[in-house]
């Protein structure tokens, strides 16, 4: 486990030494900033409306739901677009640089390697999303009011969603040395999974509902409303475990050249 952390730290710092890493970081921070700004605009609009209608302080829980619900759903989409760019490097980069040969000969288990890679992705992802808490503080400082509980639930959902996406990306990156293929394939699969949620409207037969249960969006939605349901948490945990297991199988097979 300690060795996984050592591995992860190497990857995270190499991410921040690369242009791509810095770019992803900046894009996410900016996109989140724009989305927050829209929230603030909406908030101001609603409170002015409320004041005109004679309500004193429309705030707290209802406001939080109303405003941040859509914010987290939008952030989820940004995550969907950026995750393939984060995860594509994981194994593909080692394969391209042909550094797996050394890694495999160090006293590390394949499990250590896969966990280390996953940890590095989550670590980088956490570094992406937590700075956006700054926007919330700013919002509060400017006089906006909301409840922290549901917002933190939203963050938890975002983290779980990111982890699940990253585990899928990790698996894909273990299959190819080509980062472009890795990113595109991951993106395609994520979009596919994401869009399964829309099936509810199309049909009501058990198949559609079953497929819908596979979609991460179905399970992410309640987090954006500020609700933490253990069933949904379990879904994301199993999602991650499944793809980590698949990655482990690929690594164990050592079926690549070089």
């Amino acid at each position: 486990m300690i060795k996984s952390i050592v591995l992860a730290r190497k990857d995270v710092s190499s991410n921040f030494y690369s242009w791509l890493g810095i770019l992803i970081f900046s894009v996410f921070f900016l996109a989140a900033g724009i989305l927050f700004a829209l929230v603030v605009v909406k908030y101001v609009g609603i409170s002015m409306e409320a004041a005109r209608n004679g309500y004193q302080n429309v705030e707290g829980l209802i406001m939080t739901h109303f405003i941040f619900g859509s914010l987290f759903a939008d952030l989820g989409l940004v995550v969907l677009c950026l995750v393939p760019l984060v995860s594509m490097r994981a194994f593909s980069e080692e394969r391209k640089q042909q550094t797996m040969e050394l890694l495999f000969t160090y006293p590390l288990s394949d499990f250590d390697i896969v966990v280390g890679k996953f940890l590095s992705l989550i670590w980088f992802f956490a570094l992406l999303i937590f700075p956006t808490l700054g926007y919330l503080y700013l919002f509060q400082w400017l006089g906006g009011s909301f409840e922290w509980g549901p917002v933190l639930a939203g963050y938890l959902g975002l983290l779980l969603l990111g982890a699940a996406f990253l585990s899928l990306g990790l698996f894909i990156s273990s299959l190819t040395a080509n980062q472009v293929i890795s990113a595109l394939l991951t993106f395609g699969l994520l979009v596919l999974l994401w869009s399964l949620e829309g099936l509810m409207g199309l049909a009501n037969d058990p198949w559609a509902r079953w497929l819908q249960q596979i979609s991460p969006l179905t399970h992410f939605r309640e987090f954006t409303f500020g609700i933490v349901d253990l069933g949904h948490v379990a879904y994301f945990v199993f999602f991650c475990l499944y793809f980590l297991f698949m990655s482990l199988r690929v690594i164990e097979a050592r079926n690549w050249k070089g």
């Binding site: 050592v6 591995l7 190499s14 550094t99 040969e101 000969t105 160090y106 006293p107 050592r254 070089g258």
Partner: protein, 339 residues
């Protein structure tokens, strides 16, 4: 010539020294290609072994199996007392490996990378800094400690390869073509370093350069097309070469009589290097070396018939040890012609 005489070691490990590396009937297939075919050997603590062979002979494949990079298709490997692909973390702690390709993380600095390796190899944090400094010093890296690895020359990358292998003070060092792609001055420096390391550790190096093994190694194994075609000290091999030997292949059709067949081969005058190449169903194939000028095929056929062992095939190899050496020498000349 002077360098050779100075470098040649006459030391042979004491017989009671523990066995550090052992391969038992190791084969590796890539699809239908047999990159390694039934290779067995053992190496005692402190010995220096050279894998010699032309390009494509299977040296890198053997190195990669010994390093734990990938498991063999068949056979087993022990490092110290641990079976490499069963107890692999324990076994890998005893190994330092310098791959032929010398690919490291290009975006890391030399000292940063060595620190990473030291943590992976569980060097205690109290001594880690001093440990790394010592390896940097030892391998002649102080001037590039803060450089990015991606910007290092081949010579420095080779030194970095040695430094990362030495971290954690492993008992066994594996060096794949350690002088490949270096200029003559660098080759001299690296050979000097290798000789020093060979005094204190069990060491295996691979090369396609003939004089290199005799300069550095106690024992030599010659590979060709995945098979070990000769083993011995450099001196033995040279005199064996002068005697001239040729190889005979025998295929028999009853695996239960394998020991009888082996007994026949071992009883033949002048024969050595008897190995079982393959067992497939009832078919067992062997290879053995015989002195040139003797014709052993009729003798073998007669003995097989007398003992009622089904003989399916017997033929002499087209490729003699001498020809293999020639191929190695030609390879070397070609390599020298490249810039």
């Amino acid at each position: 010539m002077a360098e050779m005489a100075e470098g040649r070691k006459t030391r042979v490990a004491e017989p009671e020294a523990p066995v550090m590396v052992r391969m038992e009937c190791v084969s590796k297939k890539f699809g239908s290609l047999r990159a390694l075919d039934q290779v067995s050997f053992s190496l005692r603590k402190g010995e220096v072994l050279g894998f010699l062979g032309p390009n494509g002979a299977g040296k890198t494949t053997a190195m990669r199996i010994l390093s734990g990079y990938f498991p063999p298709t068949e056979g087993r490997v022990w490092i110290g007392g641990d079976e490499l692909f069963k107890n692999s973390e324990q076994a890998k702690k005893r190994i330092g490996y310098v791959p032929e390709a010398l690919n490291f993380y290009g975006d890391m600095r030399v000292s940063e990378f060595l620190d990473f390796v030291a943590q992976i190899k569980s060097v205690p944090s109290k001594i880690r800094h001093a440990h790394i400094e010592e390896k940097i010093e030892r391998c002649g890296l102080p001037e590039v400690g803060h450089r990015l690895i991606g910007q290092l020359s081949r010579g420095f990358r080779q030194r970095l390869g040695l430094a990362q292998a030495l971290i954690g003070d492993p008992d066994v060092l594996l060096l794949d073509e350690p002088t490949g792609g270096l200029d003559p001055k660098q080759i001299k420096e690296i050979r000097h370093l290798i000789r020093e390391l060979g005094r204190e550790r069990t060491l295996i190096l691979s090369t396609h350069i003939l004089p290199e093994v005799s300069m550095v190694c106690d024992k030599v194994m010659i590979f060709n097309q995945g098979r070990v075609v000769a083993t011995g000290t450099a001196d033995e091999l040279e005199s064996g070469l002068r005697r001239e030997r040729y190889e005979i292949f025998v295929v028999m059709g009853d695996r239960h009589r394998k020991d009888d067949a082996l007994a026949i081969f071992h009883a033949l005058p002048g024969v050595d290097g008897v190995t079982v190449l393959e067992e497939q169903g009832d078919r067992v194939s062997f290879s053995l070396f015989a002195p040139r000028g003797t014709e052993l095929r009729p003798v073998i056929s007669k003995l097989f018939v007398e003992q009622n062992i089904p003989l399916l095939e017997i033929r002499a190899s087209k490729l003699s040890l001498e020809q293999i050496f020639l191929k190695i020498v030609l390879d070397e000349q070609m390599a020298q012609q490249e810039p």
